[in-house]
Symmetry: C2
Subunit: 349 residues, 2 copies
């Protein structure tokens, strides 16, 4: 059995209230008593019971984090940022992955509610509206990251996907590309739409109307989805000279798919990613991509949540807050000038 403040009280000959106050640094207790109690506590290996404390104070010092999958370099970058900020502030993290499964989502929400999580960070773009409402109904402070339905939540951190996508499109046009394709991930909702919008806007303002078949959606954002799309683009009557991929994973798959088909990147086709996951720097050729500040996004989300918790006396009055972070274009080796016409011929032999 773990030692309690009563045990300490018995040993030091004071009441348990005195121990409680001494350990929490209450200045009412005389410094000599306080010191004596502190010493005994360490000696006896005392560890406060979070359960008892949370029961009494109605605060758990725990933050729930919901994501699709841990095994995704984009999300794990964000979580690392959340974790760093949370540890500094003395919070622990409940982390659970929904794996796009509604039943799991329900279980996760239930578990977080039972544990009276002080707040929740949702970085699963596809998190269902129903479960979100469930949390909101129970007054949980929620911060969402890159969620598709921003109107449902009052506090959110977003990456400016529209802007980022524009940066990439501008870069490709500046290189001289006209036949630019966009490969999306239909599962990611708002995110892929914004990125598509950025792409379309810039092309239009440059007087380019992409062929309808240049816009292709996959239901998933993994390397395998990118790989299989390479064939799709290569089989088009007039293949694109540049392919903007929804994210780095798909771009890496695309890279491999093109190369396996004997197509050279970037000589024959340029490929770009999105996110700047750690390995995107080490592909061959290194991936031109947009650096999303993942750790910063995580930290900002946690910081916003901490602000909410600190001032929760004026809970209802708080005005909604939506923070938008911009990324920066990283020009590496997977993008270059489009091939000259005779090169383009080569592609079809």
């Amino acid at each position: 059995m773990a030692t309690t403040i009563k045990d300490i009280a018995k040993k030091t000959g004071v009441s348990h209230s005195t121990v409680s106050r001494a350990l929490s640094g209450n200045s009412l207790i005389s410094s000599v008593t306080s010191e004596r109690i502190r010493k005994a506590a360490i000696e006896m290996g005392y560890q406060a019971s979070a359960a008892a404390r949370s029961l009494k104070t109605n605060r758990s010092n725990v933050i729930g984090v919901i994501l699709n999958s841990m095994d995704d370099p984009f999300f794990s970058g964000i979580v690392d940022g959340i974790d760093a900020c949370a540890q500094e502030a003395g919070y622990s993290l409940f982390i659970a992955a929904s794996q796009y499964d509604l039943k799991r989502e329900k279980n996760i929400v239930k578990s977080m509610m039972e544990h009276r999580t002080d707040g929740v960070i949702i970085c699963s773009s596809s998190f269902s509206a129903e479960q979100g409402r469930q949390l909101l109904r129970n007054q949980f402070p929620i911060v969402v990251i890159n969620h598709q339905a921003s109107q449902n939540f009052h506090y959110s951190i977003y990456h400016d996907d529209f802007d980022g996508s524009q940066q990439i499109a501008r870069h490709l046009i500046a290189l001289g590309h006209c036949k630019i394709a966009y490969l999306g991930n239909s599962l990611s909702g708002r995110t892929t739409i914004e990125r598509f919008n950025g792409y379309e806007t810039i092309l239009k303002s440059a007087g380019i109307t992409p062929l309808p078949e240049y816009v292709h959606q996959q239901s998933g954002g993994y390397a395998a989805n990118g790989y299989s799309s390479a064939e799709y683009y290569l089989n088009l009557p007039m293949p694109p000279t540049a392919i903007m991929c929804f994210n780095d994973l798909m771009a890496i798959g695309m890279l491999k798919g093109l190369q396996d088909a004997g197509v050279q990147v970037p000589t024959q086709v340029s490929v770009t990613g999105f996110d700047n996951i750690p390995l995107s720097e080490y592909t061959n050729p290194a991936l031109t991509t947009l650096d999303q500040p993942k750790r910063s996004i995580g930290r900002e989300a946690m910081q916003l949540l901490l602000d909410l918790l600190g001032n929760n006396e004026n809970n209802g009055i708080f005005e909604p807050k939506k923070k938008v972070l911009k990324g920066t274009l990283l020009i590496r080796q997977s993008s270059s000038v489009p091939p000259t016409p005779n090169h383009r011929q080569n592609l079809h032999e």
Copy 2:
């Protein structure tokens, strides 16, 4: 304020004990009353307080997971496995990353002790012995994954690194390589030693004595560490024809480093990884590596912990258990026959 069993009791006109029993499925309560209470509970949106329950029952239904970093595709694969198994069994996960920082480790351990975590899974190979003892002293059931100091803990899941490394070395020798290097990660302790041992054993049994400079250690296991090591090997008077890397991340960095230096893989140098992280299939060339069953390792660890918790009446009597899982060799494109002598010359021009 959240609704409690007392609220339900008041509304249904019974005592709170009856409500407690009804909701926990106690057969003493008549089925009509039980049904009525259940209905009211759902209606009122009741969610049991985990804090109160855990205070009373001395079980938290929470498992602590300690790792170095979330942002590592090897560990996140394992955590995904742990998470899946935990959710099925009704456990929630406390996850925290130490980032190789002793102060953080201490905070993590303290937090887990305060929350009376039912058990702890350590998948940080470098987790300090002192903190481990701290947990053991407080009777926490602990399962370690791939930890370097197995003797300190009674329950552990290991990947057979010795065997895996042997498989790779045999493969390279079968291809005809003699000048085989091993690139290690000194931070990973036991793991890198075992892999080195496998390498050395097979080479010795094949009558090969590697040059001392072929064995090179980096303090870190990321792509950057692999990248910078490429130069080291290329500058040797007699460079190796095959490089076994500690893990996939380093191998991917190595791939890039060699290619940036104008060296062709696998024509001039073969490169192998370890772990089979998701992206290793999509490098150019695709990486020959050893598939560690990451999700299985995670599941096995969680399952072992569940076994410990289920039978904790005979806590002390439990005999130590050490489960070893073997990986399988994946031969892809980064390994091939060594270059013929005149090729080798080319390397030094």
